[in-house]
């Protein structure tokens, strides 16, 4: 397993590209073959989570920060995103109704739906009244080969 890498930045939207690329670089740090689909999904999920922290978590409150830590094996990347915003459990967000027509389709609820859809694992931990940890995991290496049958 690669050593953890960590970055801390002010929770402002202009830092989003740097935070997203830091997480994606965790794949390279692991020595895994870069899988375009997995990299896409990691960038998308980290972008969604960090944008949510900025726009809804701190909601304009100045002085907040976001930290991202990645750890990886050649098969799996884990991204840990922490903030000091009021506690918010994303598993409470209902999925959007994706079957309705365009006139009634609203703009909300899509972000967390995408995060849960593209990542293999999404966990949330609260750190008291303020502070959230979102842990994202994604398979980044080739699918494991089946063990040969014996006997």
């Amino acid at each position: 397993m690669s050593a953890p890498r960590r970055i801390v930045r002010p929770a402002r939207i202009e830092h989003l590209p740097e935070l997203v690329e830091f997480a994606a670089q965790g794949v390279r740090a692991s020595g895994a073959e870069a899988d375009a689909a997995a990299l896409h999904d990691i960038r998308l999920a980290v972008s969604e989570v960090c944008a949510n922290v900025v726009e809804h978590g701190y909601a304009g409150e100045p002085g907040g920060s976001i930290s991202i830590e990645t750890t990886a094996t050649t098969e799996r990347l884990v991204v840990r995103i922490e903030d000091d915003a009021p506690v918010f459990d994303p598993s409470t967000v209902p999925p959007p109704d994706t079957g309705i027509d365009w006139k009634r389709r609203g703009p909300g609820k899509m972000g967390w739906h995408l995060v849960y859809s593209v990542m293999d694992e999404v966990r949330h931990e609260a750190r008291g009244a303020r502070g959230n940890v979102v842990i994202l995991a994604k398979r980044i290496g080739p699918a494991p080969s089946r063990a040969p049958r014996t006997g």
Partner: protein, 114 residues
């Protein structure tokens, strides 16, 4: 994210590349808004160069879709990479807007020169 605008007859093609997310979606909204305000209601979003689009980008597409259709036009998508197409499917957008493999096909679908 970078954008460029191309006019083909009455059809406007907005070529988009890079990342469409919470940092860039407002810029994309402004590009589309200026076309809608100029009276262009047949719009094609060429997303062939898009690395990823987050929900912020999807919200822009939904808003532009509603604006153009309410004026008798449409917004159609062209050339999404497989990963971007997957996001469109996951969000239900392939059920509410038309997606084409190429820009030419998308332009022809609204009566423009492909």
């Amino acid at each position: 994210m970078e954008t460029s605008v191309e006019q083909r007859g009455h059809v406007i093609v907005v070529h988009i590349s890079g990342s469409v997310d919470g940092h860039t979606a407002d810029d994309l909204q402004r590009v589309f808004a200026s076309e809608v305000d100029a009276g262009h209601h047949a719009l094609i979003a060429d997303v062939g160069g898009v690395d990823y689009t987050s929900s912020a980008g999807l919200r822009v597409l939904l808003a532009v879709l509603k604006q153009t259709r309410s004026r008798g036009g449409d917004l159609r998508l062209a050339a999404p990479r497989p990963e971007v197409r997957k996001v469109l499917e996951l969000s239900g957008f392939t059920g509410i807007l038309r997606v084409f493999d190429t820009v030419d096909e998308a332009v022809r679908s609204v009566g423009g020169r492909g």
